[in-house]
């Protein structure tokens, strides 16, 4: 068993290695980033087929959807979603009942509602879930199809696949509970708020075929109505209204997220892919071209740069618009730090925007357009329009717009250079140190770069072959090892057949071999 584990581990390690050899379609983790960037700089291009939907429908796939296109992803997981929606409603019902009960009891015993049993029973449920999951993994391990198991395993960790929809619904549960807890403090108005939010999310479930703008309008209208009412209730205290509104947004959007993020009715997905490809095509853009006032040689600065990149990538994993916004704000603060350390003075807008553009190019955040659209459509508007979060969000929108429209002029390059960099014929990284040679048939730097790239590519191909070979060997070893074990087990079983006998009714009662035993010692009397 133990050696088996080691074998499985090394297979997945090889798989990871393979991932890093080719530039991943999206950023897949801090470890592989370094590698992928290097290979991108060497100008290796991803095979077009790697980008297509794995179901072979001809549409582009997206790693965020396990390599499927949105349509196949949806079809594939419609059932899982349906189930989750039902679970959501069941939970909402339950919470409503609990909330009602808590309210009723608080009328008697004021302010101290009875602690409900919900958290405990939830815990139990989670435990059993974990158990079943373990069992299935072990099963997978020993079933003949175990060859494909590690692949699946690998995917489960990083994408919002239905296998973690359990986790997602756990999040929904937690948010619902928090919301009810929060509203309990409000007593009667809290109960009304809860009812309305619930009714609203339910009504939204029947509005699947609305356009994204119409969905947005529904949500924005709801925010507006709710905050108007709260405004009356709190007698114009904007702070209090906003605090309740934040909770309302969190509750509603956690529930609606799956249906309104990157909906089929929009071309958000197409734009995501276009932006992603665009950013990949711009891998050669340097700090100097953008006039970014950041010196990554300083460890503290590069530390902040890495943190900024992590924050902006994290945005995609959040469900509440305000939480996504918070990721952008955190990213921006790290950028400010990086600039302040480099320049030893506070950053202005002239420093900030180029640096943000640089960070976006470096991070290539997943589903960037979808996220921006989602925030724009479903965030509480007061936050988006005027405050600090809004400022950073606006800058992100500008950064994306800039990247989309970027041309030779915006980088202070000649159109010829820009073309050559874009087409991958030349790389600014290679040219900077040496003096420029006129483009001849032999001495051309572009040619030598191409040669170098080819050599590298060949080398990588050979290594790739070796890795595959080793993996195949391991696999066959694994199979023969398994067979050997099976054979051994069979032999042992044959040698020592297991016979189950009825338990003896009385000692020695059916001991057939008793008579073969030497007779028990008897006391003997010796004459003497």
């Amino acid at each position: 068993m133990r050696s088996l584990c080691v074998v499985m581990y090394s297979i997945s390690a090889f798989k990871n290695f393979k991932n890093t050899v080719f530039p991943p379609v999206t950023y897949s983790g801090p470890v592989s980033r370094e590698m992928s960037q290097k290979s991108e700089r060497r100008g290796i291009h991803v095979d077009q087929s790697e980008l297509l939907c794995k179901k072979g429908c001809g549409y582009y796939g997206n790693t965020s959807w396990q390599g499927l296109c949105s349509k196949c992803w949806r079809e594939e997981y419609q059932r899982a979603r349906q189930k989750q929606i039902q679970e959501d409603w069941a939970l909402a019902e339950k919470l409503q009942r609990e909330e009602e009960a808590a309210y009723a009891s608080s009328q008697g015993a004021q302010s101290h509602p009875q602690p409900s049993l919900a958290p405990f029973s939830k815990f139990e449920e989670k435990k059993t879930n974990e158990k079943t999951r373990k069992v299935t993994t072990v099963k997978k391990f020993f079933s003949p199809s175990s060859r494909t198991a590690p692949k699946k395993e690998n995917h489960e960790g990083k994408t919002p696949s239905p296998s973690i929809s359990r986790q997602a619904s756990a999040e929904t549960d937690r948010v619902s509970r928090d919301f009810v807890d929060f509203l309990k403090n409000l007593q009667k108005p809290g109960r009304d708020i809860h009812k309305q939010c619930r009714a609203f999310t339910e009504s939204m479930a029947n509005k699947r075929d609305l356009s994204a703008d119409e969905l947005s309008e529904c949500v924005q209208d709801f925010y507006q109505n709710m905050s108007d009412r709260l405004m009356t209730h709190f007698k114009g205290s904007t702070d209090r209204v906003e605090r309740v509104m934040d909770q309302v947004e969190k509750y509603i959007m956690t529930r609606l997220y799956k249906n309104v993020f990157c909906p089929e009715t929009t071309d958000d997905e197409k734009k995501d892919l276009a932006t992603q490809n665009r950013i990949r095509a711009l891998h050669w853009v340097t700090i100097q071209m953008l006039c970014v006032p950041v010196d990554e040689e300083i460890p503290e600065v590069s530390d902040n740069v890495v943190k900024a990149i992590t924050d902006i990538i994290e945005m995609d994993s959040r469900r509440v618009p305000r939480d996504k916004l918070a990721c952008i704000t955190r990213c921006s603060k790290h950028i400010f730090n990086a600039i302040r350390i480099t320049k030893t003075e506070p950053a202005s807008a002239d420093d900030f925007l180029p640096t943000l553009i640089y960070i976006v190019l470096k991070a290539n955040p997943p589903r960037l357009q979808s996220n921006i659209q989602y925030i724009t459509r479903f965030c509480n508007p007061s936050r988006l329009m005027t405050g600090e979060d809004g400022y950073y969000f606006t800058n992100l929108c500008c950064a994306v717009a800039f990247i989309e429209k970027l041309d030779a002029q915006s980088l202070n390059l000649s159109p010829e250079d820009f073309e050559r960099y874009m087409s991958g014929q030349a790389s600014p990284h290679k040219q900077e140190p040496g003096p420029r040679t006129p483009a001849g048939p032999d001495g051309s730097p572009a040619l030598s770069t191409a040669h170098q790239n080819l050599e590298l590519l060949n080398g990588l191909g050979v290594r790739q072959e070796r890795v595959l070979e080793a993996a195949r060997n391991l696999e066959s070893d694994l199979i023969s090892w398994r067979e050997a074990v099976e054979r051994e087990v069979q032999e042992i079983l044959a040698k020592y057949p297991l016979e189950i006998r009825p338990p003896p009714s009385a000692i020695d009662s059916d001991n057939v071999e008793n008579d073969r035993l030497p007779p028990p010692l008897q006391p003997q009397v010796f004459a003497g």
């Binding site: 929060f182 409000l186 007593q187 309008e217 114009g236 605090r243 002239d350 420093d351 600090e388 606006t394």
Partner: protein, 235 residues
Amino acid sequence: MILYILYVYINIILPISLADSFYCFDLLALLTMSAQRVDAKVVMLGKEYVGKTSLVERFAHNRFFFGPYQNTIGAAFVARQIQMGDKVLTLGIWDTAGSERYEAMSRIYYRGAKGAIVCYDLTDRSSFLRVKFWVEELQKCEEHCKIYLCGTKSDLIETDRTMRQMDYHDVQDYAEEIKAELFETSSKTGKNVDELFQKVAEDIYNSTTFQLMTEEKGVDLGQTNNSYFYSCCHN
């Protein structure tokens, strides 16, 4: 009897529990509030090097305005509170990147702004040409945004009158034509900086939309109109 219980509940118990909940709110606010609430957005526009950032910094550190300086980390966004009568108005000042490479995006910045301070350098005639560009843009896209023209670096022309390249009265005529206010400021000496921002704050405070916002049943349709958002980032 039932009525009496109801009466007691409404008048005694409910207020207490509401007070409780407010206390919870304040604790929550301390824990979750990331940024200060801002009442109105004011955007800085103008060519590179005219002195936008210096003006924001001057405003942010000026003792004339009270309250803590929120954003020590950078001068790109600054939130400042200004006392207006018995109320406090919080302005969010948005600095913008002035480089021409970002000009196409400036429209994204001033969307929803209540005021725009369009800067030009008193010692640089070319910087005024760009002023006209932004004024036209603002008039076209943000009709609710009040425009303030701001001639910067007035300390330079005070020491040497020949440095002045933009005549005050010419610009004043232009300002009247476009219904804008005109200020000539120096971020170096601080001259007229307070006056500029005080005027911006007053105008916002007196605007009907802000009054509605802070009134009891405040609904500010003008400000929270959704239609801004849909086109954001897509033009």
